[in-house]
Symmetry: C2
Subunit: 220 residues, 2 copies
């Protein structure tokens, strides 16, 4: 048997936990796949809720390759300016089979220079920011361009990961995993996208996000 | 302002990460709500993938009350026999506003004696085991009985948490959070429930689950 299929999920300060854990739960069900969490420094990660709740067993310097690289969203601003992180992402991307993002993780891929001239998506509230990095924003649940796949906000990573499993291991594997995690979503409302929400809901969600990712919140 | 609304999520060895992190991501968006992760002993938690990826900031002995208690699923067998854990769950349940579970977390609530004579749900593959604890299995995404809510497998915790937010903080808050986490699910297949899957898929998923939660896997 070859070495395990190598999936690396990047973790960082003030990231959004579900962006990473949704796809993780899909990928970890693939027989022979190995998921590794890597951060700039190994150890506990404080997420955007302020909780030290995730753990990176690896530092990025321990990881010199990945079949799949996944970059989650959250408070991405610091990441888009961290040359060490961007350099690491570029280096891994040279030999990945798939380079993927969830939510504003696509802005980090963009800052690394990977999205120039490509279609991409992100959280609905930051769609225009993709243009700063030369990408063309697309309002889809996820967008594939060559070996790069960007997913929409937070929960979209689950859909994207299942679809990627189908590409890599076949539809039957993806369907089996969907059944294993009983992913038969029955959201109680139909307000998961701005296309379906009232303007009041959209404004309230925007205000919440602005507060959540303000520099003041970062320092609290 | 009163003390924060107090949400406690129980973590344990070989649990399923998404069972906890899905509802966490919903609850953490409620202004004034505080989520705490508690395990038998504070520190890193090795989940059912073998990764030391979650962190409990609190030990159960540090936690003497909760407005919402959530018990996730995973390899629940050891938990259903751990009298210290069951006693803690019973004690918290005396004063919770809501006692909730995801996936086979309901078997732990059952072992604590909380489900006698009640309707409840769990992962589709362990539905019958609810009867061991005097509960009546119901094939629903989530089931409310008084202040107890049990959700179906893994991803069902997201739906349940949004619905509970609507009960506690109103529909507008739940809808706003659904929009914030862009929970507009678009699963690539329609195989998330055994009602929708082929018998081959069901058998393969069962085999995977048996292997995942075998005593051998526990010791690896």
């Amino acid at each position: 048997m070859n070495s395990p299929y190598n999936i690396v999920i990047y973790l960082y300060y003030r990231m959004t936990a579900l962006d990473a854990i949704g796809p993780y739960e899909v990928f970890r069900c693939v027989p022979g796949a190995e998921v590794r969490f890597a951060a700039k420094h190994p150890g506990l990660i404080k997420t955007d809720s302020g909780l030290e709740m995730l753990n990176a067993e690896f530092g990025i310097n321990d990881i010199d390759g990945a079949d799949i690289l996944l970059v989650p969203g959250g408070d991405a601003a610091l990441q888009t300016k961290d040359q060490e992180v961007l350099q690491w992402i570029r280096r891994l991307h040279e030999t990945t089979k798939w380079t993927t993002s969830v939510c504003v993780g696509s802005l980090i891929l963009g800052a690394a220079g990977l999205l120039k001239g490509l279609q991409a998506t992100t959280h609905w509230n930051t769609m225009e920011a993709l243009q700063l990095f030369g990408a063309k924003p697309v309002n889809e649940r996820f967008v594939q361009q060559g070996k790069i796949i960007t997913a929409a906000g937070v929960s979209a990573g689950i859909d994207m990961a299942l679809w990627l499993v189908a590409l890599e291991w076949g539809e039957e594997m993806a369907q089996q995993i969907q059944l294993t995690i009983e992913y038969d979503p029955q959201p109680p409302f139909h307000t998961g996208s701005p296309d379906k929400a009232t303007s009041t809901l959209i404004e309230n969600a925007r205000d919440f996000l602005i507060e959540l990712y303000s520099p003041e919140a970062r320092n609290s």
